[in-house]
């Protein structure tokens, strides 16, 4: 008998299949075809991208080799930074021009190194780049939300092979974020506690879904995982805004990300994945009812008609089994 579980934040139901649990090798990962030629994100090809916004450099002037993390505007932006925001109606429809920022964070100059392969200090540098760009863009009054995410591998939507993260600043608060915030607010209204803090306590108490823990952060396969091997990373201390991450929490957070991704990479043989930083909208005040966090979603199962139609997800790997398998990996990280 399968189990239906309800996400306490959004109210979304998922189905956990409790029949035959697929083994790691049952997931067919699309082979990673290597093509390092003329990569615009490698050292020496800086001229192929728009001029850099910021970079962490060991040597050299801007837009030349010598950087270790580099942030550039997206060459094919989904949204553009120029212009004033303009909203209008067309009969029943609403339209808005595509004002926003779309930036690419090149995690490392090394073409075949992903976040999972970074050293602790390299990972920290990437996290600092996320924080710096968030702090800068929130000054722009047109923007309401900053979304930081990563697509790794073709199936997960990465158009370029060289590992990179993306940042999009939006003129509206996206729907899925609003749903999450509204759900968390409702829980807070009822219990006067943050739903994520409660989740943290629950996970720590039950133990069997945790794959990473240190003084500041926890990584676990959530009870209501939509996808096989979904992993969330939460700061232990309540904080609604990612850009406000305390300085001393950055190294631990970077290590949590790297270790969780390294476990996924080793266990599932370098699968495509997305990760998304969930944070509160830009509005200047700390919220009691929301808690920033990262959701990592390996792309192993296809989302089919039922999921689209219902918003109801089917997960063939119970999360405590996923956690057990991820923990069985022997980590080889620096």
């Amino acid at each position: 008998m399968n189990e239906l579980r309800r996400d306490p934040i959004t109210g979304r139901w998922i189905i956990v299949l409790l029949g035959k649990i697929p083994t790691v090798t049952d997931f067919k990962v699309e082979p990673y075809t290597k093509n390092a030629e003329k990569c615009p994100f490698c050292w020496g090809n800086e001229a192929q991208t728009p001029p850099e916004i910021i970079a962490h450099r060991k040597s050299g002037p801007p837009n030349s080799p010598g950087w270790t993390t580099r942030v550039v505007p997206n060459k094919f932006p989904a949204l553009r930074i120029e212009g004033a925001l303009n909203k209008e109606g067309m009969g029943v429809f609403d339209v808005m021009n595509g004002v926003g920022a779309h930036e690419v964070i090149i995690d490392t100059p090394e073409h075949y190194k992903d976040f999972a392969d970074l050293t602790s200090s390299e990972a920290e540098e990437v996290v600092w780049a996320y924080v710096a760009r968030s702090l800068d863009l929130r000054g722009d009054k047109r923007f309401k939300y900053i979304l930081i995410f990563k697509n790794f591998g073709k199936v997960a939507g990465a158009s370029l092979e060289h590992p990179h993260s993306q940042l999009i600043a939006l003129p509206i608060v996206p729907k899925r974020v609003l749903e999450e915030i509204e759900g968390a607010a409702k829980y807070y209204e009822y219990k006067e506690r943050c739903v994520f803090c409660d989740m943290l306590r629950e996970e720590i108490e039950e133990k069997d879904r945790i794959i990473y823990e240190d003084a500041n952060c926890i990584g676990f396969c959530p009870y209501v995982s939509r996808f096989p091997y979904e992993v969330w990373i939460l700061p232990k201390k309540h904080n609604s805004d990612f850009a406000g991450i305390p300085r001393d929490c950055v190294p631990n957070f970077a290590r949590a990300m790297r270790d969780c991704l390294a476990r996924i990479k080793a266990l599932l043989q370098d699968p495509p994945y997305n990760f998304i930083i969930h944070t509160s909208p830009i509005n200047g005040h700390e919220r009691n009812d929301y808690h920033w966090h990262v959701e990592i979603m390996p792309k192993l199962a296809k989302v089919a008609g039922f999921e689209w139609g219902s918003g109801f997800y089917i997960n063939p790997v119970p999360p405590h089994i996923a956690a057990k398998n991820l923990l069985s990996v022997k980590l080889d990280v620096k």
Partner: protein, 346 residues
């Protein structure tokens, strides 16, 4: 400059990416799926192999033939790997701060042809028979008070989560809870109705008919459009022109007309993007039984309008879409529609 469009019902924004726009002919559904029956493997959905499936729930049969034997036109069976099962009582409980329940519900497969054909090969007459059977099944599920919602869908092709057997079939899932995505849509339609006292879908049909540039085709009673805020290239909606919120109450005299429009639209889509993977999903009102529900959904019969959504799976949903619920569509729906209008199908 890319354009941000808002879905008027659900409030979802879509980026129509003019910067990375592609022409309609730059999309391809890829190669037609190869028949993947291994040597000696038999298709459990074919006539003659009835014993390979769980016993049938319902079938349209020639007079005198017995259940679970050849002689059927359309056959309904429980799913071989059911997500939800009917033979248990609903048990909802808590697990610490979490909620869970057992998977009580229905999951049925409607095999709409006894022959080993993919959907494009099924005749109009046969397709319509299948549609009638689906409606009969929903009428039956409505009688079970534990089922709140019935979803009809088809997954075709690997990228859309379809199985490896090409044999045409649809699925019905009856769920014990109201679905979040359905609720959002209903809430959006209700909001519009509360404000304007008109059905938003009826307004969309009127506006699209007047504009014409997003209408793919029409039949006497149905209309097919590429919606204004299409999430995906070639996304297509098929709506009944006459207002109605319940699919299972559709006038049976109009089913054949709906079938011919669906066949025409799929023909046009295949002409332009090849044998494409897709999900077809029904959107209809939940079952309404008890008094509270009636109060909550008091205006649903006026504010909601059932329809089908066809989602071709040609692009990949990436981190941005997951994180924001904001879709990036590289093909403006007007361009998709123009190429579909032009496509000639015999």
């Amino acid at each position: 400059m890319p354009e941000l469009r808002r879905d008027p019902v659900i409030g979802r924004w879509v980026i129509i990416a003019t910067e990375r726009a592609r022409r309609p002919d730059q999309f391809s559904g890829g190669e037609p799926p190869k028949e993947e029956l291994a040597p000696g493997e038999k298709c459990p959905f074919c006539e003659g192999n009835e014993s390979m499936t769980p016993p049938e729930i319902y079938a349209l049969r020639k007079p005198g033939t017995k259940p679970n034997t050849p002689g059927w036109d359309v056959r309904v069976i429980p799913s071989i790997a059911p997500l939800l099962t009917i033979d248990a009582d609903l048990d909802r409980r808590g697990h610490g701060m979490y909620d869970l329940m057992n998977s009580r519900g229905a999951h049925e497969i409607v095999i709409d042809t006894p022959r080993h054909q993919r959907e494009s090969e099924v005749s109009h007459e046969q397709l319509v028979k299948g549609m009638h059977v689906i409606l009969d099944r929903i009428i039956d599920l409505e009688k079970d008070p534990r089922i709140k919602y019935a979803l009809i869908f088809k997954n075709y092709g690997k990228a859309a989560g379809g199985g490896h057997l090409k044999h045409s079939r649809a699925q019905i899932i009856g769920t014990p809870v109201n679905l979040m995505r359905v609720k959002q849509e209903l809430a959006g339609a209700k909001r519009y109705f509360d404000y304007k006292e008109r059905c938003i879908y009826c307004d969309i049909i009127k506006q699209e008919t007047a504009l014409g540039k997003r209408v793919i085709a029409e039949s006497q009673h149905f209309i097919a459009i590429t919606p204004y805020a299409s999430r995906f290239p070639f996304e297509t909606w098929v709506l009944p022109k006459e207002h109605s919120c319940d699919i299972y109450k559709v006038d049976r005299n109009k089913v054949a007309d709906c079938g011919s429009l669906l066949k025409l639209v799929f023909g046009k889509l295949r002409k332009v993007i090849g044998d494409f993977p897709y999900n077809l999903i029904s959107h209809a009102a939940p079952f309404r039984r008890d008094i509270e529900k009636k109060a909550y959904w008091g205006t649903i019969e006026h504010d909601y309008h059932w329809h089908f959504e066809i989602l071709p799976i040609l692009t990949r949903v990436a981190g941005f879409e997951w994180g924001s619920g904001f879709y990036i569509n590289p093909l403006p729906p007007e361009d998709a529609c123009a190429s579909l209008q032009k496509a000639q199908v015999s």
